[in-house]
């Protein structure tokens, strides 16, 4: 503990954040959304699209929206339908798609006594997820543990087959984690596209088939080279819980999943985001998937020096939302970034202060540390140095997930060679600075400690304010990233419903039961 932070102040911050999250959780528990319901359908084994390429899970929720009442939840309808037709959920979906079955009659029925009819299908999905968990655990325990941060790179060609080439090449060079970044526009689609895709802009579609293809390629590489390469995608946007479900089934290892990012950066309605965020986190917690939160993004629109405390405050809030979803600290990849203007004198010290601060406050979290992006320019040579300084901080402050900066950040999504150079840079620094942190302490009244204390103080004050005004008001006031949003605005609000008294989500219930059991076991 190098910064001598005051433990009771940190505890205070957690208390404030807990209250902030609890207030929102009350709202979450009373609501469901179209994407929560579609995620349940996916976990009942429903897959495929109709003749117009609309996913069957959307066909069903659209059908219920038009003909019946979604606030009862899909479980209500499907359980009755199974009881009456003796068909599987998949067959039921296909019949709804070709108009030979309607769920409308069940709208007026009492609370379903047949929810248990869903159990065999839920069990199949949970079994598949458990098998995937076991596979990952076995692979990870059979390999030597790294003592320096895991190297994380993104691929973003738009074409899944080209992405695979790029990913394998990065793995060869030493990357531990591959993120397939999503195409522009996907976060605002209220459905998950289907099949393998080859046309994306600034990224590649997140589809179940694309997940499968990349997973298979990384597994094959891992087997050959006795390594386990982790795969990342985005459980964000309008389909958070569905993508979390697909990721759990296809063994993704990490998911970008922030409680505020969609609200702030995609103008997605805040209620929708919070509700979706909750179920997606429970799914990820169940599947042992590490989430990556998006605090780093605030610093792309706000100044990183002046608004450093908003990152810390948001980390505290994201932590509490994750705890509400029964997530273990070891799955909370809280985000932060190296984004201070390089023109600022001693910027390196301030960056180190912030990184050490995150490390000390969240000792068990696999912190996700983001590289400089905003202050990278067409001067790729300077960019390479900026990334080197960032790499030094990452290694020195023991970050866990080390997202590598690209020298061409300001120009294009990475070329294969850009990524290779980034990995060389990071590997060299990880070696050169390996035990550096054990050799140094920080001056009591020096710049680093003073800065860390100041940021913690400011974060505490901000949390007090947010707790007083409520998180909705905070977002309205634009306290994060300087962008203002209101609860009645934003995309996806139409897909939010107050739960009917007879509503139930059996998938959520089963996952929570298992997670609580695990929790008690550990305590």
């Amino acid at each position: 503990m190098k910064l001598n932070l005051n433990p009771s102040q940190i505890k205070q911050c957690r208390n404030h954040a807990e209250k902030i999250a609890s207030n929102i959780q009350t709202m979450i528990d009373q609501h469901t959304t179209v994407s929560v319901e579609r995620a349940i359908l996916r976990l009942l084994g429903i897959d495929g699209v109709n003749s117009l390429d609309v996913p069957l899970v959307n066909v069903i929720t659209d059908h219920i929206l038009e003909e019946a009442e979604l606030s009862l939840g899909v479980a209500h309808y499907i359980s009755y339908a199974i009881h009456e037709t003796k068909l599987t959920p998949q067959k039921i979906a296909e019949r709804i798609a070709n108009n030979t079955l309607s769920l409308k009659p069940y709208k007026e029925n009492p609370k379903s006594p047949y929810i248990e009819n869903l159990n065999p299908y839920i069990d199949t999905a949970l079994k598949q997820i458990n098998t995937q968990k076991q596979h990952r655990q076995d692979a990870l325990t059979s390999m030597p543990k790294k003592t320096t941060p895991d190297l994380y790179v993104i691929v973003a060609t738009g074409n899944i087959y080209e992405d695979i080439e790029q990913a394998i090449s990065a793995a060869h060079k030493g990357a531990d984690i591959i993120a397939v970044i999503r195409t522009t526009g996907q976060s605002l689609l209220d459905f998950v596209p289907y099949g393998a895709t080859t046309e994306g802009f600034g990224g590649t579609m997140a589809t179940q088939e694309n997940f499968k293809l990349m997973r298979k390629a990384l597994d094959e590489f891992g087997k050959k080279h006795h390594r386990y390469i982790k795969l990342v995608n985005y459980a964000s946007g309008l389909c958070m819980p569905e993508i979390a479900a697909i990721g759990a089934l296809e063994r993704l290892d990490m998911m970008l999943n922030d409680s505020l990012y969609g609200i702030i950066f995609r103008d997605i309605n805040m209620k929708r985001t919070f509700i979706d965020q909750y179920f997606s986190r429970v799914i990820s917690a169940y599947a042992d998937i590490i989430i990556n939160t998006g605090e780093d993004n605030y610093l792309t629109t706000s100044d990183a020096f002046e608004h450093a405390h908003t990152v810390l405050a948001s980390q505290f809030i994201n932590e509490q939302f994750a705890l509400k979803a029964k997530m273990k600290p070891s799955l909370m990849g809280l985000g932060h970034a190296f984004e201070i203007d390089p023109e600022l004198e001693n910027s390196f010290l301030y960056e180190l202060a912030q990184a050490e601060l995150s490390r000390e406050i969240f000792p068990e979290a696999p912190l996700k540390y983001m590289p400089p992006t905003k202050h990278l320019s067409g001067d790729i040579f300077k960019g390479f140095i900026q990334n080197a300084l960032f790499n030094i901080v990452a290694v020195t402050s023991h970050q866990s997930i080390h997202l590598l900066g690209m020298l061409t950040e300001a120009i294009h999504t990475p070329f294969m060679s850009d990524r290779a150079l980034a990995i060389d840079n990071a590997t060299y620094i990880a070696k050169a600075f390996k035990d550096f942190s054990n050799e140094i302490t920080y001056n009591d009244n020096g710049i680093i400690k003073t800065r860390a204390h100041q940021v913690l103080n400011e974060a505490e004050n901000l949390l007090v304010t947010i707790n007083e005004e409520g998180l909705f008001k905070t977002l309205e006031k634009g306290r994060f990233a300087g962008i203002s949003r209101t609860p009645i605005q934003g995309k996806g609000l139409k897909g939010v419903f107050t739960k009917h008294p007879n509503y139930t989500n059996p998938v959520l219930n089963q996952m929570l039961k298992a997670l609580k059991k695990e929790e008690n076991h550990e305590n």
């Binding site: 522009t184 605002l188 070329f415 060679s417």
Partner: protein
């Protein structure tokens, strides 16, 4: 006077390149890289670094000498040719030439979610110490934000009786910005509204010459601020509305 790139002696023509080839790294790979560079008119090529990126791809850094030369006086630049005014000059200009506030409407369009560029030009705060259009007396700035489709932008422009439309494009992968910008001009023409507005584009990969090529009035890239844009717009509007030349 004709010139060549400069290494350490005038006219030495020294040049540096790096690229990846989709073949294994080997002596054959190095020779292939050299042969390619020779085709570019570069002599004396040296592969100074070669490394495999994986089994099938290899990366090369090369130095060479170009015998090509160029006379700078034969090269022309397409740039905005109106005068660049200061904020207060622009405000005076508006007061003198127009009897109403000028309406600027802007957005980051298509699927692009980047707003920092358009905000830099339009919002009160501006960028790098230069106030944005919202701060200008005589300008009403309406910023629609990001991920606005072309149809919506045009509808809003008509609704607000805008004088100037500002479009920001940041994502350029696979030329998605060109497709989107072309579609907007086609939309304007199809609706017979091209002459109703001064239409200006901007973004990190936007140049004035690209803008002209695509049928826009002007284009602005990095290190351009609200005053650059407003200088052009008010003068162009004066020519258009008041027929002054």
């Amino acid at each position: 006077m004709k010139i060549r790139p400069y290494g350490d002696t005038l006219h030495d023509g020294k040049i540096q390149l790096s690229f990846t080839l989709p073949i294994p790294c080997s002596l054959h790979g190095e020779e292939t890289a050299k042969a390619l560079v020779k085709k570019m008119g570069i002599h004396d090529v040296h592969v100074v670094h070669a490394t495999p990126l994986n089994d099938n791809y290899s990366f090369y850094i090369l130095y060479g000498t170009t015998h090509h030369e160029i006379d700078p006086s034969t090269v022309s630049v397409t740039d905005v040719d109106t005068d660049t005014l200061t904020k207060s000059d622009i405000e005076d200009y508006i007061e003198q030439h127009f009897n109403r506030p000028l309406i600027f409407i802007g957005a980051s369009t298509g699927t692009d979610a980047h707003t920092v560029g358009i905000d830099a030009i339009m919002n009160m705060k501006g960028y790098a110490g230069h106030y944005g259009l919202e701060r200008y007396k005589g300008i009403k700035a309406i910023n629609l934000g990001s991920q606005i489709d072309n149809e919506t932008l045009l509808e809003e422009a008509v609704k607000h009786q805008a004088d100037v439309i500002l479009i920001s494009q940041t994502v350029t992968q696979k030329d998605v910005h060109i497709q989107n910008l072309t579609a907007f001009i086609e939309l304007l023409e199809a609706e017979n509204k091209r002459d109703d507005f001064i239409v200006i584009i901007g973004g990190p990969r936007i140049t004035h010459s690209l803008a002209k090529e695509l049928g826009y009035d002007a284009g602005f890239g990095p290190k351009k601020y609200a005053f650059d844009v407003a200088s052009f717009a008010v003068q162009a509007l004066n020519i258009k509305l008041n027929k002054e030349v």
